[in-house]
Subunit: 529 residues, 2 copies
Amino acid sequence: MGFATLSLIAGREAANAGGEFRAVNPATGQNMEPAFISATRDDVDRAVRAAQEAFLVWRKRSAPERARLLRAIADGLDAAAAELVDRAQQETALPEARLQGETRRTSGQCRLFADVIEEGSWVGARVDTAMPDRKPLPRPDIRSMLQPLGPIAVFGASNFPLAYSVAGGDTASALAAGNPVVVKAHPAHPGTSAIVGRIIVESIRSCGAPEGVFSLLFDSGFEVGQALVQHPLIHAVGFTGSRNGGRALMDMAAQRPDPIPCFAEMGSTNPVFILPGALRQQGKQLATGLFGSFTLGAGQFCTKPGMVFLPSQPETTPVLDELRRLTSESGAFTLLTPGIATNYKRSLQSRREETGLAMQEAKEAKGMCAVSAALLETEIDDFLANPEWSQEVFGPTSLVIRYQQREAMMRAAEELEGHLTASVWGTDADLAEYADLIAILERKAGRLIFNGFPTGLEVSDAIVHGGPYPACSDSRFTAVGSRAVLRFARPVCYQGFPEASLPDELRNANPLGILRMINGNTTREAVSS
Amino acid sequence: MGFATLSLIAGREAANAGGEFRAVNPATGQNMEPAFISATRDDVDRAVRAAQEAFLVWRKRSAPERARLLRAIADGLDAAAAELVDRAQQETALPEARLQGETRRTSGQCRLFADVIEEGSWVGARVDTAMPDRKPLPRPDIRSMLQPLGPIAVFGASNFPLAYSVAGGDTASALAAGNPVVVKAHPAHPGTSAIVGRIIVESIRSCGAPEGVFSLLFDSGFEVGQALVQHPLIHAVGFTGSRNGGRALMDMAAQRPDPIPCFAEMGSTNPVFILPGALRQQGKQLATGLFGSFTLGAGQFCTKPGMVFLPSQPETTPVLDELRRLTSESGAFTLLTPGIATNYKRSLQSRREETGLAMQEAKEAKGMCAVSAALLETEIDDFLANPEWSQEVFGPTSLVIRYQQREAMMRAAEELEGHLTASVWGTDADLAEYADLIAILERKAGRLIFNGFPTGLEVSDAIVHGGPYPACSDSRFTAVGSRAVLRFARPVCYQGFPEASLPDELRNANPLGILRMINGNTTREAVSS
């Protein structure tokens, strides 16, 4: 067996002191071997203390040294891809190709953050040089740059066993910024988590990084996560998951004697607005694209389009017919966990009983985690009267809302809560006519998509994966893309310090060659002293 | 009389429906004319709704239009300087020269943010161009930039009736980013607040800005502030004041059905570390500088040095003697409000009863808000055993902590909570020997000062006025300097949008000439399409 079944604390296995749990294979409903051992409160304390000790060293390591660790992890993930995909497939029932892609995305994210910190300008260095002769008072020399926060608690997500999990974006961005991480593994994929944990521990050793920069804690319940977020030496939290889970962590972080930042990405319903011209132009293609998007990954993406506004016009019926056909003829989908499958079925059952909501379903699926796709349909007046229908249902379902009047659709847009994304399908003429819709959606979502569907998230410099609450705990940050590193850093200012005591990023000569703002001008030049 | 005694809601006086209150002249203890009328919950609702309506217009105004308003406010403040200083002096007992300087700082801050948004690069625009031929999947065109959050609740501070009040840094940065503001005036200086409110309303009219971008609410209690922070259309909070007040607002913001960012700058004790070489070199000058700094503004600065670590060596006694002499011979100080004076006297009284704490005081001051300076002294072992002695006492007092052993001083540094500033006095040799002290302080404060005192805050690009809790609610932001605008904005991403529907900041040609990150390179060039 290539992985430990105990928590990993600063490179060592924890004592075998906690309760046992097993992953469930969602495809078979069977418990999987081996058993994993939950961490204890004592393990949490040891992991966080080791992280704090490592922080003192890690925060002073040069960017190339930190980048080396991230690249070693990336190489380790790529080298173990077959083992990872095999175990992850058993633990999640996600398709092989998807898990292969996700492995590449995960190693790619590690390399992206390695590139970001090696380039170095992300620290936002600023220098205001002294003006000793200024009247009425001289100006001192003032310099500042971003520095890491301290040990970060990271929670693995159920729906991305790699990209949002042990070595996912939260871990990679936190490590990149100079923070240690203590990861709480998601109990649905402990084996995948353990393999990644092994890869990170090996990478730390091969790079000579302090062992405490990473610990991995198992727990099938909530106790470890709670102890982690409440630990006095934890400085911030990164979480991807449900709204309930995220809000619980937000509340815990806010209620500490010393509140800490909690970045929780909690998903959303990702409204799609089909405008009249686009419906005329695209016709049934829209049905194919939409069905593909809301069933991708069995509808378990944070970016799944869960509500679609469709104008009533001649092309509406064929598009809806096609959507109904695709839905009713679709095969069974296997969800990630029995709990997620139960929630999905329960949500559909409650919607089945609602007046004003029609449902087209595929034939009943058999198996503990097996579910059928479902297309919900309603009229906009019923939708406006039932705001709870806009809530996210995790799984292969979407709600089509037909509108006759532009005004009603605009009102629905205005009443949206915060979402990760909002998509608009339109022609150029539609866009001109509906400019006020775009102006509304800019206030509602982190990412607007034109003539596309929201699933399939690019990891890049410009991407934003966040948005107003409840999509995200703090809309000022993003979970994905190079900007994600900003969640885990804060500006520190040096006033009147001699060259020799300044970090390299702030020295006159600009030895790292980074972009800096010097007396208001952004440049790679040295400070003339 | 040149100002309204009623709240100003989107340019109009509120109904005369709330309770009356008066400012107290701290120098005389007398109530001042005229009476001001507290806002009602209904006024709060109307102000916030007007702000939301104005937001839809204001967020789309060009940067030069928003800058024009900020400059009009700045000019209005400068033109009314005599009136402002006169009223503020009566309401705060702060010296005329200080208030003149503060008026200039306040108008200067408005102009700084006008410059920042006119230059335009602050939005952090990023463009990742499409790669239609990329394998396995094409990359869409992705662009993003910062956009405003929505109506911001701003709380005026007692200790800066201008620079952290109605047209202070929170208001200026929020308006600059494209947000409306609803200001809760501090009840200790309602007249000053009303004059500034009048200036802002006049500026809004002269610039043709939507009237709802600014409202000013009076209240002598907590009800208006609470209703404001809990209002569903308020999107963030800016506060400067006490730890208790700030924490109450943080908790309220976090407990909303939709939690919102609350930036609270809550002050700190601002430790000063005198290293052995500096003490030898500087001698009694240190006493003069330190006394000047901890009594500046009657010791009512957030950056007041409230604890000073002093090594025990031959030069210690003359420095301490000088500090004691300056303290005992100092005249009376007039604090801002009877409440602040009472708290100061109560804090000193409780310290007077502590064992291990010596106190040197000036002769007793007479008057409701009059207090005497006090120098507290202790040994580091007593200090380490009494962590509560490190708490901020607002007023003209500071605590000197003598240390024999480097280790004890380092332990005290490690046990510090979050502070706005930490100052170090040293020679180059001291700095080399105490590099680990700097490394500790980087984790404890927002701004480190070398061979200087923390009072006298520069408003610039590189400044940081923030720090880990409890100095500040979120160490990732600053209350002062051009970076302060980042508190009130969030990234919004556009995927696959045609040129015509993009904000100017993201268009290919870069019509605003701002710095942007294009495919990873920061440049003012156009996007080649």
